[in-house]
Symmetry: D2
Subunit: 344 residues, 4 copies
């Protein structure tokens, strides 16, 4: 049994990790930590977990010492030191924060106002989007787990960008996310009476996931790709729809596009490429690690419209982190992730 | 592996059974049927199940023949014949409808306007509320699986009624249910714009679950118990809160009440008796087979207020049906039912 | 034009007062105050009001000086001094808080842990539930505007209690309220991901509105009435359903009950007594000052079930306050309150 | 008083017209019709309107005869004959359907599979988007009232397109609409359990509002404009956000864009151009005739992102229809439309 520790277990991503690890047959949850709730049982913070995880929150160091692998679900900026400690102690470390995601320190400075404390460590870090970078993840110990928007949108566009069938100049990504993405912390924006029956974009063309999406697409395209990215806040708990717009190159047919997507994802269990006429919906992937993708073409304007749906807390956070763990430890990638999305 | 068949698989209770059976380690889903969708894949009706259950809907007879146990999730009135057929063929039969729930034919006539076609069969039928009637379920083949309201409310009141600490004359049960209880069929009431931001009672003092709740409470009290039962429709998908009011007998202390409840449910995995000060919430049991119960006393009026929370589709339908199957087949009752209620 | 001032305009009740006063043809909004947002425009706090109320928040004293009538929507405990100041300056004062609602100082101490600073003032205060106490309101200057639960539940029960057709020993009031009742202040309970798809009772048999409801019912019954009161939190913005249970006295027929209710409310514009077979629903009264009431009888247990629906922010707060103002100033009671509840 | 008749009063747009006309000081609602509910009171269909509009539904002919102006809220295809009848009888006619919206018969054929029965009539018809075409509406009798998407998106883009500061080749409109836009008719899509906590695009690049938006933008641009239009279904009752993307021409600064928008809408009461840093939200315009617009620039990609928020049933249907009526009859355009969007 793999000994798993979770740091930041009382935040939403941490709590979701607990849900998945509880049901994972090859792991044992050995310790959890929380700064705000140290000494409290997790089930006091999340009564859903009564009798399932009554484990007490400890401090981070204890978690590190007791575990083979540490998941960190911390505010950005706090993982660099922790990651170093884990690696030094020979542990595997999966960071659900942003500290190790950007390869360019200048972009990290620009978007996060931080710096790379330990450049060596950044070079060891691998970006954990298995469907695109699986080979690089195998055998590694330090994984930068992608953010939520940065999973769904690239997966929708990857086959097209990789196969060079779209122009990469004016790619537009219009995403809509459930509110758990904003976390457990209170804010007027997520106060029920103000979000219920509401809907609006936010951080328009200035969201920190922008350079991360561009980094992924640029790798696939093998050239610098810039995007316009606008996230919106949905009055639902979970799920992200990314509606991605890219101009098709000339003489690309609908059939070619479909063939390219099918081929690209033919071995991917967690990608469900929908049939012609079907549309991705967050309803169908909630609580699961699936990414549903539907592709559409506006023949009047020769625009590819690729739509992806993921659960921001699963494929967009905790589920993908466990998928990465499975790869690192040589387990079947689906282990513990056969989460059935409920029909309603 | 137990061969499981589901009749009425495209209704909500049937679809929820599929979700649970998919993850049950000791069963194999062998066939499903649907009158409306015969010949269609289940995943065409519920795209959530894409790649997880692409099985085609067949007719009921095929399902019976292929299975060791048949779950029937049919409109009331259609299970008597089907049940007979299953029993005759030596199969186990769990009915999620109401046909076998009431022991009194006159009550069945009064509330369902039907009759007992085969009295013998009704005598074989056992009412499948395991926490109250487990001993009678063991070894049986024909189970009347309780309705949703008829699970949550009796479980909240059982310890008090059984131990004779409340007056049984004026018990009031005020229940609030998520809308999946009304099923997949379309109606103005469950049209999104008319249920969203709405809330109202319905079938006030005339809901068919009334005699079923009374039957259970009367057995526990060993005398005829009458209740006033008012259900309400919540603008949420899942979950029932039953707020139950019963006048405490004199000289019963808060501590005595708590002790009685603790003792009554001490061995029940699926009952989570909350600590003093905590309150049952549908948020905490969604998608799971748990029944959370909180008990409160109005000392000003000497009233016991017992509150239960269940997921109407799990403990109130499909989960309890699987729990009954586990008992019948001698499996650990929790097999396939370790469903973790998500924290959000 | 009546000069209206609102103290505490940036809380939910205050903001709702602004919405109504803006459309009231006989008033002019002269000043608003807010401790948290002094110096800010109301439309910065509530962008809904852009171009409709860009008035700046001032301090309370300025508001008092500029106005003929002051509405105070403050946390409990802050209105006693303010009320004295207004009355001394010859202004009318309508308090949406609880300071003047309870006539008994000992009950005030017990439930609010406060005391009557100025007993004289408390004797001048009138409880502003117009449908029950209109005659006492006329010509008064100091109105204790009822709370939300304390409007809907008494209106549902008043005709029965006043006409002595129910036993008053075991009245049970099971109420369900939209979340705006909890105000604009942030809390984990009203954090979207935790209230959405959730439902639970709270302050069971200990909510501060209990003695206020009892005070009203006791006056109508002309004897001490005790109730069991359990509020619940609905995942909707607005509206309260109160489902009230009272044992009918013997030999009272359904027709008699209906006749009594009809007679009692025959001249009340804001009370809509529903026809037999109809059920009160918050959907139908949202954003309006109506109180819909439906009455039902459980003939099996001889229980009267009276259900009322109000908008907690209108008839349960700001609308009723304006109704009281209209009475005080001799206007038609409906002035400015012809708010049409939208059909969806 | 203007005598108003509503044909199709029991559909959502018709019911919303009733809400507005009830409060309009210069009109009298003389008759309403409904095919499905002829002979029934409107308040039986919409209990919200009890005591406010207990008028009985009649047939269409009666409505025409009794009214000075007829609003028709009918399924597409049924207004051409009715419009002819009204015009022949000297009545004003405002069509909330699509029959008269497209000027090109070939586009009408392509998108609606219909034809212009009476070409004369189509030439008389004016497209009723007052902020863009007010001068043409004055004095007319036959108004094609725009659809919901076709109001919000063009208003967001109009100043930019009219002033030629954006490239019109690759305009993308990503809209998200509340479900009332789909009407009162039942469908699996709007069944509560399937829309709640769901979100998905639909009719991708094939929605009938596409040519109508293009018609408006082409007029403003004075050349043929093609768009990519993708609508999405929000799990809320009301409101549309249109997030519109257009490539800015070179050397256009942020300040210039803002100045152009300010100037364009400086006299428009119903357009609220938000300040820099603010974002349009359906929360702030619900139940009102406002269109909130926020403008943003992605300086990294030189993309203009214009966001509009309207209530699809008011500015997107009934409110705009009344605005058109006010223009036709020479009333102040705001008459009866001073609907305050509630703060929550």
């Amino acid at each position: 049994m793999i000994k798993v520790g979770i740091i930041g277990a009382t935040g939403y991503a941490g709590a979701e990790l607990v849900r998945i690890i509880i049901g994972h047959p090859e792991t044992e949850l050995t310790a959890i930590s929380s700064v705000s709730f140290e000494g409290k049982k997790l089930s006091e913070v999340y009564p859903s977990y009564r009798s399932l995880c009554d484990m007490e929150c400890q401090n981070a160091e204890t978690v590190v010492d007791k575990s083979d692998i540490i998941f960190a679900a911390l505010p950005h900026g706090l993982s660099q030191e922790l990651g170093a400690e884990c690696i030094n102690k020979g542990k595997a470390f999966i960071d659900l924060g942003a500290d190790f995601r950007l390869e360019s320190e200048s972009e990290y400075k620009e978007w996060y106002n931080g710096e790379f404390i330990n450049k060596d460590l950044h070079e060891q870090a691998v970006y954990g989007l298995p469907e695109l970078f699986r080979d690089k993840i195998k055998g590694k110990k330090l994984i930068a787990n992608p953010g939520c928007y940065t999973t769904g949108a690239p997966l929708a566009l990857a086959p097209a960008v990789k196969n060079d069938i779209v122009k990469t100049e004016h790619i537009i990504i219009d995403s809509k996310s459930g509110v758990t993405g904003a976390g457990r912390g209170l804010s007027q924006t997520s106060h029920f009476p103000e979000l219920n029956e509401a809907f609006h974009p936010y951080k328009i063309a200035s969201h920190r996931h922008t350079p991360e999406i561009e980094q992924t697409l640029s790798k696939l395209a093998d050239k610098k790709v810039k995007i316009t990215f606008v996230p919106h806040l949905l009055p639902v708990n979970r799920g992200i729809i990314s509606t991605c717009y890219a101009q098709l190159k000339e003489n690309i047919t609908k059939e070619q596009v479909r063939t390219i997507y099918k081929e690209f994802y033919k071995n991917e269990y967690f990608i469900r490429l929908l049939d012609d006429g079907q549309v991705a919906d967050i309803h169908n992937i909630k609580y699961s690690n699936f990414c549903d993708i539907s592709i559409h073409i506006d023949e009047r304007t020769n625009m590819l419209i690729a739509v992806s749906a993921i659960d921001n807390m699963v494929k967009g956070a905790a589920g993908q982190a466990v998928q990465n763990m499975n790869i690192i430890f040589g387990l079947d990638e689906k282990t513990g992730l056969m989460l059935v999305p409920p029909a309603f």
